[in-house]
């Protein structure tokens, strides 16, 4: 909780400074833009957080997003009357399929997630490219209802962001309140002890990968709705940003601790930096460097905090016998 608080504070500070510099940063339009800008990264970060909590990693999310986004476009090209619900389901389903491929390779063949998902990062993207063959799907090809979803708001909150919020709340609730959710933490904390406790480790890791895939698929649909214009390159290279968001959000890269809320805050922070720097009229070339420095600062801070907590606990160990 301390960690989430820290990031929340950093976020508030960033928004405050930017708003003081330029009050329009927080007007209705701009608030909406900030939320929209964070939506996709938040959805991906939630999935990634679940995977990282189990001491794995999913580098293929960007490729899955691209594949699913393009598939959504293709679906509308083929059947412009497709109901939105169906399109969302199709995208999520495709992502789920990709996640299942990852999960099966990792859990069944017992190989490191990093290598497998680095491989599927290439494979899924390659499939996406071959399928697209340079085709672009334009906003005009999408039904207006779907595109409206990309900009519509409900009570001042963009509909797309509502998806992200729903995913976040659901995942957060699941991880906290369900046995299988807690078992994911247990696995990340100590896989061997998890096995001794009778936790179905392989199955849970498989599930985590599948969830991450499905959420990347959802992110693809959201991408299609938001950007309207689609080619096969959507989400290219976003994976490291997602991992960074998760790590900045206080999820330990070696598993077992952190929360999806933290990861979402991390994503929100990274995307808000992306929006704030142009408003602050900071040299665009500095942006990436700032992001990198921030990642380092965040993980360094996280470690310092953990060390302090550990020290406090050690101090308490003076138990008489």
């Amino acid at each position: 909780m301390v960690r989430e608080l820290g990031i929340g504070l950093a976020l508030v500070l960033l928004v405050a400074v930017t708003t003081i510099y330029n009050p329009r940063f927080l007007n209705a339009q701009s608030r909406k833009d900030l939320m929209l800008g964070a939506t996709i990264l938040v959805v991906l970060a939630v999935g990634q957080a679940i995977v990282v909590i189990t001491r794995n990693v999913d580098l293929s999310v960007g490729s899955v997003l691209g594949l699913s986004a393009f598939a959504t476009g293709k679906l509308f090209l083929a059947m412009s009357e497709t109901p939105i619900v169906l399109a969302v389901l199709a995208g999520v389903g495709l992502g789920l399929l990709c996640g299942i491929v990852n999960g099966a390779l990792i859990a069944v063949a017992r190989v490191p997630a990093l290598v497998v998902t680095l491989g599927t990062l290439y494979v899924f993207r390659g499939v996406d490219y071959s399928w697209a063959a340079g085709q672009q799907i334009n906003a005009a090809d999408m039904p207006s209802g779907f595109k409206r979803m990309g900009t519509a708001t409900l009570l001042g909150i963009p509909v797309l962001a509502l998806f992200a919020i729903a995913v976040l709340v659901f995942a957060g609730y699941y991880l906290r309140n369900y046995r299988s959710g807690r078992e994911m933490y247990a696995i990340g904390s100590d896989p061997e002890a998890a096995r001794l406790s009778g936790i179905p480790v392989g199955w849970r890791v498989f599930t985590a990968m599948a969830i991450s895939g499905a959420l990347a698929g959802l992110a693809g649909v959201l991408h299609a709705a938001r950007f309207g214009t689609l080619d096969a390159a959507a989400g290219n290279g976003i994976e490291l940003q997602v991992v960074a968001a998760v790590v900045v959000g206080g999820v330990a890269i070696f598993g077992g601790s952190g929360s999806v809320y933290g990861a979402a805050l991390g994503a929100l922070l990274l995307s808000t930096i992306g929006s704030a720097l142009p408003v602050l009229r900071i040299d665009p070339f500095w942006q990436q460097a700032v992001v990198g420095a921030l990642i380092l600062a965040a993980i360094g801070l996280d470690r310092a905090l953990t060390a302090r907590i550990a020290d406090r606990l050690r101090g308490r160990r003076a138990r008489g016998a």
């Binding site: 046995r179 807690r182 247990a186 998890a194 406790s197 009778g198 160990r317 138990r319």
Partner: protein, 507 residues
């Protein structure tokens, strides 16, 4: 002694159970019968196969052969979840907690109480934890993470976890190893009430007083085989030990008389906050000094600090009168100190590396010519000591992980003996090695001492301590409480000091 159990039905039984890990035959013929309303002790030397048997009961290992019967029905467990489903709760020898999760969550992982929609009922979970802790007399915050708990507290959490099962069968693998008297008494009270309510309990311990105080029957194991099962009334400690070891103890420790020489190692006021305090002692050439104490007394920490692996807060260490820098094992090695660590799998050996590379790792620089290690240098060098210690291996280029535990231990010994140390520190040198080899190791240590090496031996095995040591240093809760000369050292004096009851003592 407590009263008769309510009923004596056999809940869980093993017969003819065997289990091998590669070439190591951990269990050859395991037999056990756990009855309702009875506490059953399982004793045996280190490496006798007790924990392996426990893991078979827990469904962690599936046996290679033999029968497991549950309520009279032959059954098989395909995983820990099966055993748990059958009402078997297990406290493993090594705590298996999740460091990142709260104590409460650790206790209820996978079996959290649920409320509507299959959600975890956190409030009732915390309440039940508090109840369990109250029952055990534990003062721990149920919401604190398991990370940073002392071994004793970890063990208590494990006990609370096992109790929370309301299991019919409770298996405890050395639950008291890290506990002090008060906690042990509380645990026993809980165990007795469980027994009265009709549970079957398996209790493993190296402390015979506990065994005789708590248990109704005792099964003795040796070298993976069942030896005997008797009612406590029909046994005494001497009989149990003889059955465990299989021969007279005195044969085991061929101690040569040596003349103590110059001081080789001097430790002054070594302190590490919360772990050990003001530890001072000297070690002379030709001497074997034993560092005794209960598990968790801090002996390993002291010798690790001496070797430079662990940090320490104050004090100094001198080898041949020269001060060792802190935290530099390499410096300790070049000053002539060698440490055979207690955990060979984690600390002693690089399991995936070959025997020859393990055996020569500390001397890789001195073996190199022009900075290069030729293809045969290590093998030729490793050959000498591995041969002398009779390491049984296919080839020296095999990974050390393919060796049996005892042979692995020999490789660790070879690795350090080949550095020709002035000061040899051995931490539990014979843990997990078979009876024959044990005698060999003892002979070797005697021989080295006779050759003028100063030997510091940490051991939890009293007979080993009594048989080998010229002097016995006893640690209790991080302090050196007694120094006992060979002549006056016996089981009682050492145990009294180790349990902190000597109150000053005569030294």
């Amino acid at each position: 002694m407590p009263e008769q159990p309510s009923n004596g039905a056999t809940l869980l039984a093993l017969s003819g159970v065997s289990k091998s890990f590669g070439a190591v035959r951990a269990l050859v013929d395991g037999q056990l019968e756990l009855r309702a309303g009875e506490v059953h002790a399982l004793v045996g030397e280190n490496g006798a196969g007790k924990s392996t048997l426990v893991k078979i009961l827990a469904g962690v290992h599936s046996p290679d052969g033999g029968v497991l019967t549950l309520d009279g029905e032959p059954s098989t467990f395909t995983g820990p979840a099966d055993a748990r489903g059958a009402g078997i709760a297990v406290i493993y020898q090594e705590p298996t907690l999740f460091p990142d999760l709260s104590v409460t969550e650790n206790i209820f992982m996978g079996r959290q109480p649920l409320r509507g929609l299959r959600r975890i009922d956190a409030a009732s979970m915390r309440r039940r934890t508090a109840e369990l802790f109250a029952r055990l007399g534990v003062h721990l915050d149920p919401d604190r993470p398991a990370r940073g708990l002392s071994i004793a507290d970890q063990q208590l959490v494990e006990i609370a976890k096992a109790l929370s099962f309301d299991a019919r069968v409770l298996v405890m693998d050395e639950p008291t190893a890290a506990l002090s008297g008060v906690e042990v008494e509380r645990l026993f009270a809980v165990v007795r009430s469980l027994r009265e309510s009709g549970a079957a309990i398996l209790f493993i311990s190296h402390r015979f007083d506990e065994v005789f105080a708590l248990c109704q029957r005792i099964t003795v194991m040796r070298d993976g085989r069942w030896v005997s099962t008797d009612r406590v009334e029909d046994l005494d400690v001497g009989q149990v030990v003889r059955r465990m070891v299989g021969r007279e103890i005195s044969q085991l420790y061929p101690k040569q008389q040596t003349q103590a020489g110059d001081v080789a190692l001097e430790v002054r006021d070594l302190t590490r906050q919360g772990v050990f305090e003001n530890v001072s002692f000297t070690l002379r050439r030709g001497e074997i000094v034993a560092l005794a104490g209960l598990v968790g007394a801090g002996r390993s920490e002291v010798v690790r600090a001496v070797f430079g692996v662990d940090r320490y807060d104050s004090g100094e260490i001198l080898v041949d009168g020269v001060r060792l820098p802190r935290g530099k094992p390499a410096a300790a090695i070049s000053a002539g100190v060698a440490l055979v660590p207690e955990d060979r799998r984690q600390q002693g050996l690089v399991m995936e590396l070959s025997i020859e590379r393990n055996a020569t790792l500390p001397r890789r620089w001195s073996l190199a010519r022009l900075g290069l290690l030729g293809p045969r240098v290590e093998r030729e060098d490793a050959f000498g000591w591995t041969q002398r210690l009779q390491v049984k291996a296919g080839a020296l280029s095999d990974p050390v992980s393919t060796l049996s535990g005892g042979n692995q231990q020999k490789v660790v010994l070879a690795k350090w003996l080949s550095t020709s140390p002035k000061v040899l520190i051995v931490d539990e040198p014979t843990r997990g090695i078979d009876v024959g080899t044990k005698a060999e190791v003892h002979r070797l240590m005697s021989q080295l001492a006779a050759d003028g090496v100063a030997v510091l031996m940490v051991s939890s095995e009293l007979p080993e301590v009594l048989g080998m040591a010229d002097r016995v240093l006893v640690m209790h809760e991080g302090r050196l409480v007694e120094e006992i000369a060979r002549e006056r050292a016996d089981e009682e004096s050492v145990m009294l000091a180790a349990t902190g009851q000597s109150s000053g003592g005569a030294a």
